[in-house]
Amino acid sequence: MNPQRVLITGATGFVGCRLAEVLVGKGIDVTGMVRSWHKAARLARLPIRMVQGDLLNPGSVREAMRNCDTVFHCALDSSSDGAAHRQAMVEGTTNVMAAALAENVKKIVYLSSTAVYGFWPTATHVTEETPIPYTGSAYCDGKIDCENVALKYHREHGLPVTILRPTMVYGPFETFWAAHLVRCLGRNWMTLVNGGAGICNSLYIDNLISAMIRAAEQESAVGQVFIISDAQTVTWKQMVERHAEVVKGCRLPLPDATAEEIAAARADVERGNNPSSLRAAFRLLRKPETRSALRTVPMLATAEKVARSVVDRMPDDVLQLVKRAAKSANGNKPSVENGVTAPAKAPVIPLSDHDVRLFTCNVTFSIEKARKLLGYEPRIDFAEGIRRTAEWIRWMRL
């Protein structure tokens, strides 16, 4: 069936808002469920009905759903974390399914995630048949619970549910991941891991939207689960470097480190030995222009005189200690051996274990089922998707 009157939960979010734009463009009557009005500026550009509601309030969910034939459940509670986050996800999804049953909704598309396989699946090629184990992550486990709720409503009540498991969605207005990446790149605080050969399993937003609409339209999709991803295999090197190209001040090529080097750098930080901030401060202070600028501040000029006077009065052994500490803080300065200066090695950036595992992931996700049953074909390739994303980053001035 073709949706006529649609409710989108999470309509102010990245996926929900783009979905609303596309549906409105198709002339479909859209209701957007909004929890926080101040986040609705982008959505408000559209001629849609907006209703304030909270997924944890069954009455407000049902009210928002009234007279709708199709529901896209995209909302994700982000007001809590841990067990509370998981519980809120499940309770919210239960309320959506119960309201859909009561309101005789004709189709529900639940936006799950490939996180149901865990952030780092053990299988190298994942299909819908791959087991979905609980991993202890509130988000991943919560998504599994939500899928189970939706499928239970389908099995026990005949609710026409379809579940989509998108991979890593990117594109204009994805502000969480892109903003983080751009911020890191702008501070030159990003490194490739193992040459950036890991697979990022990207999914351009409009490809996901086309899959969602197909899922709502296809009768054969009812009761089914689909992985949705782009068709191309994109590495993290491609993804990160294409972002880096549009970030002001980002030095290219990006540094590269092995997972082991990063783990060692992280261990240093955890032991409190990493002098990176101190080193950066020393480097800055060594610059003549910094020093002369600081001397124009009267109190600092006085402080410098005092510091010099203190150093002059230091006993030799204390002075040696201070010099050794400063040398240690200088870290990877070029070493001079036999009069030859070796090139300086950039410091290893201690990415989190989560990031390293993400960047070294070599799992691929199959979209064969979606192709076969939904007729899904990702229309926007990586070159075009990242071009649009780069344009957005520039426009957005991230």
């Binding site: 409105v24 463009g25 009005w37 101040h38 500026a41 959505l43 408000a44 550009r45 207005f173």
Partner: protein, 348 residues
Amino acid sequence: MADNDIVRLGIIGCGAIAEFAYLPAAQHLRQAQVVALADKNIGRARMLAERHNIGTWVDDYRQLPQDLDGVIIALPHDLHAPVATEFLQHHTAVLVEKPLALTIPEAEKVIEVARANKTLLQVGQIYRFCHRAQMVKRAVEQGWIGNLRSFSLEGNFADTNPMASGFAWDKKRSGGGTLMDVGSLVLDLLMWWFGDPVRVEYSDDSLGGVECDCELNLEFQNARGTISGKVILSRLRKLRDIVRIDADRLSIVYGFETNQGLLELIPADKDWQVPFLLDVRSVPHQSHIDFFAEQLKNFAIAIRAPEKSGAPAESVLPSLALIEQCYQTRRPLKYPWEVEQAAVPQVA
């Protein structure tokens, strides 16, 4: 009322602007005191009243004490003019949040009511109470900076404070999006400095709802020459909140909203002595709340002496007319990454 009497004010509408701007601003005023709040959500009125030690809160503005010297109307836009009219008819001075009204005829009508009842009607044009904006006005009017050449203004007006209602996203109630809301401040400011524009080009990103981002190309002609420039107002983009004015002798760059620490005066000739009144030292730093405090101070003075009002209602008519003109001549603002424009039905 004696000159040294404290002005007694009521606030009608206890949404974000009352909570985060007017009430904090009123706390430190000697000239005025907020003594009553009204909101149909009595829980919010009571909560804010208790937080600010205000003795009276009501769920209907008609139940406010009769002896108020003035009221601040901080309601959804469509209620500004009707509620102002009621108070003016009872000879209570009104400070109404911008925009004064949704249309020019509605604005003219409420101004006429104020005139007929000889009662002050002032509009919340807080940028006029920014010392830097006042400095620019003096500099332009006095010709200290030479002939005007160009200007640019860009601002990010993303809503970060929780909104008590969604009226801002309802075109019928708000009259429009970013242009109607913050454009009321920005266009008023530019016209306060440069006069009426002689050329206007406007585009926004509305797809039938209210615009989020808008851009204007404006040209002004006045005694100091012709000045043209671009205005970008956004609720999405991380813009710099900056205004720049380039004139023959001097460029003035200052930040506002989130960027208020920025103030630069760049002489074309580095040996040129910047007039003292333009000197950084003569422009004390103000926070956003300080603008509202200055405005309230001015309103309190103007209640006694209406001619001292910093933003009398009739003075904002030109900017309201410009906003109307922009909406009538709008062109779609296409995002640069978009390759196809969805055929979207426009809603009146």
